[in-house]
Amino acid sequence: MSEDISTQNTLTQRNQTAVMGPQVGNLALKGGVPIVSEDGRELTTLNLGPTHPSTHGIFQNILTMDGEKIVSGVPTIGYIHRAFEKIAERRPLYQITTLTDRMNYCSSPINNMGWHMTVEKLLGIEVPKRAQYIRVIMMELARIADHLICNSILGVDSGAFTGFLYVMQKREEIYEIYEEMCGARLTTNMGRFGGMERDLSKEAIRKIREFIQSFPPVMQEFEKMLNRNRIFIDRTVGVGPVSQEMALQYGFSGPNLRAAGIDYDVRVMNPYSSYQDFEFDIPVGYTGDTYDRFMVRNGEIWESFKIIKQAIENLPEGPFHADAPEFYLPPKQEVYRNMEALIYHFKIVMGEIPIPVGEVYHAVEGGNGELGFHLISDGGRSPYRLKMRRPCFIFYQAYPEMCKGVTLSDAIIIMSSMNVIAGELDA
């Protein structure tokens, strides 16, 4: 691997045709001979990505096309490979939270909480009920934000830009709630092992209640603009269907799987963080086409909304973090007064707390499906091996099969309805 890319001589003529990305020589015209299909049609190669506007994250698809019909697609990923798993092997556990932030950046709280729960499982910490409820609220807000982005971007890719900006305002409100909770909008670094880093403030509760008030009309408006619009229906129904067998084979999970009609949801199958306390349904689709995916996400937004409402109504009193002094940072005042607290403080920050040797797998229902953390600890300050099960990475491999035989426009809609998040895809 070359260290200094600036000296690489990959230079092309400046006024070369603007293909969006590098020409992939071996897959384009082979030695000037056009690619010909079985029945003698001359095929073209279209290089979609890595910087094509519809590849929201960054991945490349080299499509072989017959006119506007796609014959085959070869996806290339790894354009923002950041080696999360390698970095995690030399970071103390609490610093890995910042890495999980950047994995599925549309719903970082879910990733944060998933990671915290994994570690809590390893350390054997029992999280108090209030903290669990706060986590649920944050996770469901994150799910709403995630699905809002996906669905509104699907609108953008099909040409309806305006709905995107309507729901974006609501997403902005969700970010304000995060900000009240942890001080950042997107990469939240929210929560700590054993609970939350701070309680829900009055302002945060006010904002959540305000959100509950103001969200439904906007969402209804968004649905009204697209759900029963024939142009949209025609664009999406029957496009990129995924059968149940195919979904199982390709390891689908999350909304994309449920669109195919399988009601697998980690929140229901393996409830974590008090999800068993809440009443909600699992929206499922029929044939797993783009319309189903869209509608399932819409349905999930409403379900999440229901959960948030229940959680904020029944928010239990009590502490917002576990009583685990060796893992949870003591309050700053304690650090001055209490010698023990000071020692713990230093030990926690330095990562010197002994971690039990062992292994744990914990999965949460992320924005895109089962988000799992497989943590193997050898007792050191950082994980021996941390394998993240990233749903996007697994189901995106079905994309070439899904876009076979459809038109270019369909391929793009399928891509955005799958909600492939590059950070999660490439890790």
């Binding site: 691997m1 200094d4 890319i5 990959t10 354009y79 490979h81 970095i87 890495l99 950047r102 900006l165």
Partner: protein
């Protein structure tokens, strides 16, 4: 219709010679002013910062106020390359090619820690700052930066553009700069 806030700072007219019915100014300044108010972005969004850029484009912050809401995904048509998010070493040649394909005058904003310096991703696969492959005009810190900061970056770039002489792109200094990046015109 909503009332217009009165405190919006409009662009001041450039210095020039006013008279009854005419207003002469340095042509160069007018063009620079025009350019600065019509910076069409090429969003090179790879990760988190791209999501914040969406927020910047959105109703609450509205990049359109600065005349830069027309995202042109074709490098030919854009004026500023907004690199948002981590640039892996696999991606670096593509950033560079996109930059090469852009028509002059072109500017680059590195948005966020990852694009500016690699951020927390101090690993084998991540490029430690895009200024190793393309010249950068403005760095915006933050991970991701708030929309306000992205707007700050755009306004800073407007300032740069406003003060850029028309002939800068032909100057030997600029050629030398490009050459130091191995970009031949």
């Amino acid at each position: 219709m909503s009332e217009r806030p009165n405190n919006i700072k409009l662009v001041d007219a450039p210095d020039g010679y006013g008279g009854s019915g005419f207003f002469a100014t340095s042509f160069e300044k007018v063009i620079a002013l025009a350019r600065s108010n019509s910076l069409w972005p090429l969003p090179f969004a790879t990760s988190c910062c791209g999501i914040e850029f969406m927020a910047t484009m959105g109703a609450t912050y509205d990049l359109a106020r600065f005349g830069s809401e027309r995202p042109s995904f074709s490098p030919r048509q854009s004026d500023m390359l907004l690199v948002m998010g981590t640039i892996a070493k696999k991606m670096a040649p593509i950033v560079r090619q996109t930059y090469i394909q852009m028509a002059e005058p072109r500017w680059v904003i590195a948005v966020g820690a990852c694009a500016s310096s690699g951020g927390i991703f101090d690993t084998y696969s991540v490029l430690q700052g895009i200024d190793r492959v393309v010249p950068v005009d403005v760095y915006v810190p933050g991970c991701p930066p708030r929309p306000e900061q992205i707007l700050d970056g755009v306004m800073q770039l407007q300032e740069i553009v406003k003060n850029e002489p028309l002939r800068r792109r032909d100057s030997p200094e600029y050629q030398a700069l490009l050459e130091s990046y191995g970009i031949i015109k």
